[in-house]
Every structure is written in C-alpha cells, then in structure tokens.
C-alpha cells in the first residue's frame, strides 16, 4: 500500500512535468493552429542555460531567471524569424520547418557546449528527502516539481479566464480573423503566446535539469509524450493538457511499476517480465487509442 502511494506520487510528479511542457504546446496549437515540433528545443535551452548559470554562479534563482528569459527570447526570435511566415501554410510545411529547427537547435547546443552532457545538481535547499508517510521517504525536489506544477496550472487558469490578455487568447483560438477585425494586434498576440509557450517549456527544462541528463537532443525524448498529452486532453485546451498530463504520468508510472507483478499471476517470470516491459511502454498509447475511440477530439475539445 505504501508502495502504491509512492508510485502514485511518482506518477503525479511525471504528470506535472509533462504539464509544464504541454501547456505551452497546446496553447500554440490551439490559438495559432501551428504544429511546433521544436517545442522540445526550448525545454533543452532552459535546461542548458540553467545548468551553465548554476555551474558558474551556484545560484539556482539566478539560473532559473536567466533560463526562463533565454527560453522566452528564443521563442520570440523563432516566431518572428521563422514561424510567422508559416501560419498560412499547411501543417506539413510547419512540421518540416520546425523539424529543421530541432536539428538547428541540437547542433547549435553541440557547437556551444560540446557533445558532453552537462551537470546540474539539485539546489541545496531542496536536496534530500522527507518522510511523507512513516516509511515512505520521498525526494524533496520531486515534491517541489508537483508544487510548481500546481502553481503554474493555477496561474494559467487565472491568466486565461480572468485577464484581458486571456480573453484575447481565447477569442483568438475560436476565431482569429474576427479578433483581428476587432482591432486586436493579432501578430503581437501570437508572438506573446508563442513566447509564453517557450517560457513554460524552458521552465520544464530548468526543473528537469537536476533530475535528467542535460544533453543535446533531450527535448525529443519527452516531446512525443507531450504530443500524446495534448491529443488526449484536446488540442488547445489547457485544462485538457493538465488532465491529460496527469493521466499519462499516472498510467505510464503505474504501468511500469505494477504490470510485471500483475502479469506474474498469468505467466512464468521471464515471460511476464518481457511482456510487461513491452506493455508498459505501450500503455500510454493504448490509453490514447481508447480515449480517442470514445472522444475523437480529446477530453476537452477546444
């Protein structure tokens, strides 16, 4: 039972990490109707800048600030230089261009930082673990990720539902030409939304840097999961992204944790192990297939 609670926490933590990434992606997708494969690159930029600043100064706060700033700046530049010209084109052109951006960013990080992965430690204040229940020690830093995920979810909710900017974002998502006709500078709105998405991805990168390997190409491994999340949640819906992320996090973690034991009731151990390994890596895609069968446009279609 204690193990189950711990695994649920692990699932939630992975879920919130995915949420940070998918919130930005789904906003960009929903508002701008743009498929951005290079979203993972902003995640990588966040992680690299954070690791570098942390190594140079030792201050996590400074690392966080500079990383957020550079991720948002990268996003803004990419939007102005490349993506602005692609809104009218079909999705295939966008996929091609943003795939090119992935290669560009990966090679650029290799040129700047070299092929060697970078090191970043957990900030001093969040090192170590706490006993959340007697007998269940849990790393403090992972709890921090859950907390930050909750904060960001709350912040986005306020931003989108209760501010003028949020109103425009929602309006832009449902009818962009009408919004433009009403005198909203849609270009500026798009750049802002894109930079916000990049900033959130960079945030995820900073949070991930002490836990995961900071290396060129780190964005792609998590990008696929992120796309699964926004497809499940409903493209363009932040609420959907939150729910989708938590679902994916939980299903993935619990699948990896408990499938081998469950299958051992049915098969001999070696067979159970190999089936469980395959099933666990398929679990989220099965989840996606089932959800799409009943809700073809995701849980919360925008």
């Amino acid at each position: 039972m204690l193990l189950f609670i711990e695994q649920v926490l692990n699932g939630l933590q992975l879920g919130f990490m995915l949420f940070l990434l998918s919130a930005g992606l789904t906003l960009v997708f929903g508002v701008m109707n743009l498929i951005n494969l290079a979203h993972g690159s902003f995640y990588m930029v966040g992680a690299y800048v954070a690791a570098t600043v942390m190594l140079a100064t030792g201050s996590f706060t400074l690392a966080l600030l500079l990383a957020l700033l550079s991720a948002a700046l990268c996003g803004l530049l990419v939007e102005i230089i490349v993506l602005r010209h692609l809104y009218q084109r079909d999705h295939l052109d966008q996929v091609l261009a943003t795939f090119g951006l992935i290669l560009f960013f990966n090679e650029t990080t290799r040129m700047i930082w070299g092929r060697q992965p970078l090191f970043m430690d957990v900030p001093e204040a969040f090192a170590g673990s706490v006993e959340i229940l007697p007998g269940v020690p849990y790393p403090l830093y992972r709890l921090l990720i859950i907390g930050i995920g909750l904060l960001v979810a709350g912040g986005l909710y306020l931003l989108i539902s209760h501010t003028r900017l949020g109103m425009r974002i929602r309006a832009g998502a449902s009818n962009r030409s009408m919004v433009a006709a009403l005198g909203v500078n849609i270009r500026w709105l798009y750049s802002l939304v894109f930079a916000l998405g990049a900033l959130l991805a960079g945030f995820a990168g900073v949070m991930a840097a002490p836990v995961f390997a900071v290396e060129s190409g780190m964005g792609e491994s998590i990008l696929i999961l992120t796309f699964v999340v926004i497809v499940i949640g409903g493209i363009g819906s932040v609420k959907g992204a939150l729910l989708g992320a938590l679902l994916v996090g939980l299903v993935d973690t619990l699948g990896r944790a408990f499938l081998p034991d469950l299958l051992q009731w049915l098969f001999a151990t070696p067979t159970a192990n190999s089936i469980a390994a395959s099933l666990a890596s398929m679990a989220i895609y099965l989840l996606m297939a089932v959800i799409l069968a009943f809700k073809p446009r995701g849980l919360f279609p925008a």
Partner: protein, 388 residues
C-alpha cells in the same frame, strides 16, 4: 560560351588528374557515430585512432595511411551506404569505427564478404563472435557481454546474496543481463527491462527499494545512465544499496555530467587510465596533451585498433591485398596494447584481463581508480560456436 565552359572544365579535370599525388598511402575507412547524443563515442574513437597516426608521423607501423572518417548518424542504413562507397569508389581494404551493434550487424557481414578487413573498435555483438564469425572480422575491444560478465563475477565474489538488475528493453540490454547472470551465483531479486531512451526512473526506483536487494546492477548506456544515477542518489538509495555497472556509464565524460551521484560505484572495464604499463602511460599523457581531456575507454580502443592495424601493415609491408598474410599478422596482435595483456582467440575476439574500477573523488575531480583484476585471459562465451 558552351565551348568555353567545356574547355575550361576539361582543363580543370586534367589539372586535377595530373596534380593528384600518386599516393601510396593505405586507405582506412572509418564509419562511426559523430552526431546524435552518442556522438562523443565516435569522436573519442576517431581521436584515439588519429593520435596513433600522429605519433607515427602520418604512418601506422611505418606505412603511410590515409584515414577517411564518415558519420553514420547511428543509422544502420547510412552505415551500409558509407561502407559501400568506401569499398566501391575508394577501394578501401581496411575498415573500422562502428560504435553500435545494430549498425555493425548491418555493415560488417557485407563488408567482410567483399574481401575487406573489418576491425571493430567497439561494437561486439554475440552473433559475430559465435556462429557468424568471419575470417576477415576482428574485434579489438571486447565481446559485448564481457563487461557485464565481470560485474556478475565481482558482485558474487564480494558476497552480495541478491541483486536487482535493470537494462533497456532491446537486444543489447537483454544480452547485458544475460552476461551478468552467466557469472552471478546469487539470487536475482528483480529483473527489469525499461523503455529505451527512458528519462524518468522513479517507478523502477520505488519498486527496487521495496524489493530490498543487497546490490543493484544496471546497464543503461548514455543519457539513460545519467538519469538513473542522479535519481538513484536523489532517492537516497546509494547510502543503503550499492550499485554496480559496466564501464559504459562511467567514462570520464559521463562522470562529469553525473557528478557526486557516481562516487563509490564499482564498474567493470578492460581498460583504465591508471593501468600500469608504458604504452598506456604514453597514450594517456599524449591524449591529454593533444585534446585537453581525459581519454575514455572508447579512445583507448580507437588507439589500440590503430596500432593493431599498424602491426599488420608493418608485417606485410603495407599490403592488405595480401589477405592471408595480413590476416595472420592481425591474428598475432603484435602491438603494445594500452591494456597490457592482449591476444586474439580463435574467433578473432580478445582474450584479455578485465578489471573493476571504483569512482573516486578528490581535489583533481571525479575519476575511476582501478580496484582489482577480476578476470585473467578472459575469452567470450561464444568462441566455441565459431568454426575458425
């Protein structure tokens, strides 16, 4: 205008034709992985190889050589394409360089059938060591299982009664755990196959803690290993359950990215920078001087491969076309390996000593210290299946 173009281009062609030096250099084709996350492996193999050429003043074994390097991007198809180009247009007779077993399986069987020598500086898939071994194929590094076998032996000998073992769910991962189990006599507390490229190991770590093993063995190459070790330490597990692995997660470059989380880990390797032999001391010093970083085991393998080829070039007067003689010279392995003791078994795979090292930290940084020799003259488990 048309005429002018034609004339000028033929002039250029003529110039090129006549100016090309009638080079007698022996061409060596290197197919390796220089891009993707694993690009540093190929980089180190290439740099180690180049160092040996440079030490010979552009020569290996006194014979002038020309090293051609191309990146396979970790893709079997691309590796094959490059190999075909080397053989058809460059008329290469010696090839080397491949990092990954899946690329090797796509390239090597074809290459050796075309009467080209392939000397592996890294990948050592079991198929090429056993039933499908070939007279033109040599492996100067290890058979894939070796560095896992040594850990199995060490963990049993050190008295750990139960072990929890993990590897990614792909052929090399399964081979790794099979290699470990071949020499581990204790009880397997859990055998887990993770997703290839997985970054989050929280679920596995929680299960591992609950299984209460005496030791943990893992094979998670590249970034996966960094993720695992960091998270293992963050979960507070490295105070209670010691972790073991093959050298692949503990080379000088990865250690910098893992940091303190790796300190104290025992890992198995056929080479370390502190092995006490003159060839190794020269190599480590020269590599550091030239490239400004510590060599990894991959660099040592690239260097050994170059010197092995050099020994055969010397014996045959730079004539790999003379295949029987060249093959016999390779088989003798008369070069000063940085590993010290080195010879080839019947299947053209190394028979060598394998060590365990411990990751230590002091004022000079984090590095590996050789602890003890575990295997002496260790051959691989597939040699008997090879009919050479």
């Amino acid at each position: 205008m048309m005429n002018f173009k034609l004339i000028s281009s033929s002039l250029v062609a003529l110039c090129v034709f006549f100016m090309a030096p009638a080079s007698a250099a022996v061409k060596i084709g290197m197919v390796t992985t220089l891009t993707t996350k694993a690009g540093y492996l190929g980089e180190d193999i290439r740099d180690g190889f180049n160092l040996a050429i440079e030490q010979g003043g552009g020569k290996l074994g006194g014979i002038e050589v020309e090293l051609m390097v191309e990146d396979d991007g970790r893709k079997p198809g691309k590796g094959r394409e490059i190999a075909e180009r080397y053989i058809k247009s460059d008329k290469v007779k010696i090839m080397t360089g491949i990092v990954f077993s899946n690329v090797a399986m796509a390239v090597v069987p074809k290459v050796v059938k075309d009467d080209v020598f392939y000397i592996s500086p890294n990948a050592g898939p079991s198929a090429l060591a056993g039933k499908r071994c070939h007279q033109n194929y040599f492996n100067a590094a290890w058979q894939n299982d070796n560095l896992h076998e040594v850990m199995g032996k060490y963990v049993s000998d050190a008295g750990f009664k139960s072990a929890y073992i993990l590897a990614p769910n792909y052929p090399a991962g399964k081979d790794a755990l099979a290699g470990f189990k071949r020499f581990y006599t204790g009880n397997i507390a859990g055998e887990v196959y993770t997703k290839l490229g997985q970054s989050d190991y929280a679920a596995e770590l929680a299960n591992l803690r609950a299984a209460k093993p005496d030791a943990v063995f893992f094979f998670l190459p590249g970034g996966m290993g960094i993720n695992f070790l960091k998270q293992y330490a963050q979960a507070g597990l490295n105070d209670s359950i010691p972790v073991f692995g093959p050298a692949f997660s503990f080379d000088a470059r990865l250690l910098k990215a893992v940091g303190d989380a790796a300190v104290g880990v025992i890992n198995g390797s056929q080479w370390n920078h502190d092995l006490d032999n003159p060839a190794n001391q020269t190599f480590v010093a020269a590599f550091q001087q030239k490239y400004g970083r510590m060599p990894t085991l991959y660099a040592s393998q690239g260097y050994d491969t170059a010197n092995l080829i050099g020994s055969a070039l010397q014996a045959t007067g730079g004539k790999p076309e003379n295949m029987t003689a060249f093959r016999a010279a390779l088989q003798k392995a008369e070069f000063d390996s940085v590993r010290g003791n080195f010879r080839f078994g019947n299947n053209h795979h190394p028979v060598q000593d394998i060590y365990v090292r411990e990751v230590v930290k002091d004022a000079s940084g984090i590095y590996n210290k050789t602890v003890q020799k575990v295997f002496t003259n260790h051959a691989d488990a597939y040699a008997a299946e090879c009919k050479l």
